[in-house]
């Protein structure tokens, strides 16, 4: 078992009582997330889907390296790593609809 620090993004800190970091003991990234889920109810479902893989709008970085497409959650831990949960932040204006001049948005 290795010790890893999990960085919690702001939107998920409501699950950790405001903590921005959680330290767990685990041999792989998957185990580290499982330990996190055992300690804080509800947070794991926000990070991984029913198949246990990272959700579409979540990225996982291990010491600054994006795990998507690599060994993924089965990446082994040596100890001392930082696992960051990074929310995918996305959006954009409506494809159709009224443009600014027609709406008369105030200047």
């Amino acid at each position: 078992m290795s010790q890893v620090v999990i960085r919690i993004p702001t939107p998920l800190r409501s699950y950790t009582g405001g903590a921005d970091e959680v330290v767990v003991q685990a041999a792989t990234v998957r185990e580290a997330l499982a330990r996190l889920g055992e300690r804080y109810e509800g947070i794991l479902e926000r990070v991984v889907d029913q198949r246990g893989e990272p959700r579409q709008f979540v990225n996982l970085f291990l010491d600054g390296r994006n795990l998507r497409g690599a060994e993924g959650l089965d990446t082994a831990l040596d100890g001392g790593e930082v696992l960051a949960i990074v929310p995918a932040v996305a959006g954009g204006r409506d494809e159709t609809g009224t443009t600014l001049p027609e709406l008369g948005v105030r200047k």
């Binding site: 996305a90 204006r93 948005v105």
Partner: protein
């Protein structure tokens, strides 16, 4: 209870510059600061890369590496990521259905309406418990 987002003039000017420079494409980034009660104070706005290239006029997704760098800097300065900003080129500063679908709770979402001439409006929004956006008071 109406929430308040305090955005200093200096940060508004920075945002306006990025918004105009990116036009007609969307620009995006994060807001660093602190929250207390119903008030969030922005200490610094940061720009981020939009990794959506094929639809940059109406979509954005913040480069996760830029987000990670911003969060690390926030932690080192004793602040946190308190919100997200992005532009709506030639559209109102109101959340779209795409914004709502992809939004996270607990953050302010600052939207800047921008035209060729520059920013025409900016408004801040936050998801409520029903995942509907409620407008915040911008000071």
């Amino acid at each position: 209870m109406t929430r308040v987002l305090c955005l200093p003039d200096e940060q508004r000017r920075r945002l306006a510059g990025w918004a105009k420079a990116a036009y007609p494409h969307e620009a995006c980034g994060v807001l660093l600061g602190a929250s207390q009660g119903d008030e969030t104070r922005v200490a610094e706005a940061r720009s981020a890369r939009n990794i959506v290239t094929e639809r940059a006029r109406d979509r954005y997704e913040i480069d996760p590496e830029d987000y990670l760098a911003a969060e690390s800097e926030a932690a080192s300065r004793g602040v946190e990521v308190v919100g997200i900003w992005h532009t709506h080129p030639d559209h109102p500063a109101r959340p779209s259905s795409t914004d709502r679908e992809k939004a996270w709770g607990g953050w302010s979402y600052l939207i800047l309406a921008v035209t060729r001439e520059g920013v025409t409006d900016l408004r801040s929004w936050r998801l409520d418990g029903e995942r509907d956006f409620q407008e915040e008071v911008l000071k």
